[in-house]
Amino acid sequence: MGVVQKVPVYLEKIPGGGLITTSLDAVLNWSRASSLWYLLFGTACCAIEGLMCTGASRYDYDRFGMIFRASPRQADLMIVAGTITNKMAKRVKILYEQMSEPKYVIAMGGCAIRGGPFYYDCYSVLRGVDLVIPVDVYVPGCPPRPESILEGCLKLQQKIKKQKVSDWSKTEKFIPEPK
């Protein structure tokens, strides 16, 4: 019954019984937010900071229930860590489509947000990953510190906890076309 003590806001224990009552929203959002399995997908510099350093012992994603997955089929979260080129953009879109719902995207670093230092004088870089896939949280920096990416993950958890199950059927699947 450790769960009941830890999450008293969401769960209500029936006296004398082995049952608890709560809303479906609370349980689903709670479980989704605290087991964000992320896709092991880094393209450039941010992969070292956002995936390797933060996954290692000092910063440790595991504290938030985040475990890396090598296959997009098993992942809930895609951390777009690094520059996305036009050649890669198509593949990023395929990867995103392969992930199963519900799925979330964090754009990490200047390159994933708007091209970063490769905005000008560049013939091959996509200027922002949101031109290809919808993004939930932007984490600026070049590269962002591990603390920033953890803050981004916490922001995403807050966002997930505000979701309603009834909204899921209403949301339109908006996937912008690559240019």
């Binding site: 092991l40 997908f41 880094g42 393209t43 450039a44 510099c45 992969a47 070292i48 900071e49 390797m52 350093c53 290692a56 012992s57 000092r58 090598a70 997009p72 690094g82 520059t83 080129t85 050649k87 890669m88 593949r91 990867l95 230092p117 490769f118 000008y120 004088d121 560049c122 013939y123 091959s124 870089v125 070049c142 590269p143 510190r145």
Partner: protein, 381 residues
């Protein structure tokens, strides 16, 4: 006792045709053991690799085009992003090339600081190699160990220049700022902390029978092939050539320090791993010597903000952790370079992968690819 029944199939004899149909396996561009976005097209015969065709360009960021449109100072931040695992070395290569072009004398203290930073970064880069190589082969513990030590190096860099990954510490003619007061003592502490840790990695991996089975004798690269493919760095030394630009064509202050060049014997995956492990110890030795002899004085030569090197060309190369990194700069006398060609080690090392991987099993390609320590932005630039 065996009974001969008419249903029994005849035993297989040697003259039957057991060849399987060739098929193609697509590895990447999103694959955890390609360390980024590289696609390998493997033609397989059963489990045996017949042919490997690397498909690159997924991270081609047109850095050479950008270089033509930035001033010499402004381009420094892009060198960080060419080789982000060892940005200090990439900074260093650009500085050495521009200083050669313009004939700038760098103060001795700045040269020493550059050497210290470059060697610390070499250790950090080899630790990232160790972490990813071990995790590719299925050993998770060295990943945690290596990143524990790497964080300490990153702390040293952070206290010097305020960044954790893309340092942008060096400047044309020197370094951007002097090291803080307790940097020297902290770095000395780190060096004495590192030696036993390297022994610890060796205790886990080097003689581990599983590790040996996955690496010893796998992915052989003989020396003439390595030279013809322009392979450099630890893979070249692993093939047995005692060649290190720090020793053979000394730049910066490297001729003042005493260090060994580790070499391998067979040119297999294990040799390349062993060379890197040994290089960590040697780098720590260089850092200790440089800290001991760190001279006082200025840290930056006078270089104007609107810096115009004379018309001409320069070719300079340094020994980065992954191998030889070179810049070919053409100057037309203006504030921007006319043409910059960046020669990176991973580009040439990856090109040799098809030779090394041919004939091995599909599981071995992960070990062979990992032992080359490829960084994809270096390949695609």
């Amino acid at each position: 006792m065996m009974v001969d029944s008419p249903d029994r199939p005849e035993p297989l004899t040697g003259d039957r045709n057991l060849e399987t149909e060739e098929f193609v396996v697509n590895m990447g561009p999103q694959h955890p053991s390609t360390h980024g976005v590289c696609r390998l097209i493997l033609t397989m015969d059963g489990e045996v690799i017949k042919k490997v065709v690397p498909d690159i360009g997924f991270l081609h960021r047109s850095i050479e085009k950008i270089a033509e449109n930035r001033t010499y100072h402004q381009f420094m931040i892009y060198t960080d992003r060419i080789d982000y695992v060892s940005s200090m070395n990439a900074n260093h290569a650009w500085c050495v090339a521009v200083e050669k072009l313009a004939g700038i004398e760098v103060p001795e203290r700045a040269e020493y600081l550059r050497v210290i930073m470059a060697e610390l970064n070499r250790i950090a880069s080899h630790l990232v190699f160790l972490a990813s190589f071990a995790i590719d082969l299925g050993a998770v513990t060295p990943f945690l160990y290596a990143f524990r030590e790497r964080e300490r190096i990153v702390d040293l860099f952070e206290m010097t220049c305020g960044q954790r990954l893309t340092y942008n510490y060096m400047r044309i003619g020197g370094v951007s700022k002097d090291v803080p007061k307790d940097f020297v003592s902290e770095t000395k502490k780190f060096c004495s902390y590192l030696y036993p840790r390297v022994d610890e990695y060796e205790a886990i991996l080097t003689e581990n029978p599983i590790f040996l089975g996955r690496t010893k004798g796998i992915g052989l690269l003989d020396l003439p092939t390595a030279i013809n493919y322009s392979v450099s760095g630890p893979p070249l030394r692993g093939s047995g050539l005692k060649w290190d630009i720090r020793k053979d064509e000394p730049y910066s202050a490297y001729e003042k320090f005493d260090f060994d060049i580790p070499t391998g014997e067979n040119g297999d995956t294990w040799d390349r791993y062993k060379v890197r492990i040994e290089e960590m110890r040697q780098s720590a030795r260089i850092v200790e010597q440089a800290l001991e002899g760190l001279p006082e004085g200025g840290i930056k030569a006078k270089v104007p903000a609107r810096f115009r090197p004379p018309q001409g060309e320069a070719f300079a190369r340094i020994e980065a952790p992954r191998g030889e990194m070179a810049y070919f700069i053409v100057s037309d006398g203006s504030t921007k370079p006319y043409r910059v060609k960046i020669r990176t080690a991973s580009f040439c090392n990856l090109q040799a992968l098809p030779v090394m991987a041919r004939g091995w099993k599909i599981a071995d390609i992960v070990a062979i690819f990992g032992s080359l320590d490829i960084i994809l932005p270096e390949v695609d630039r």
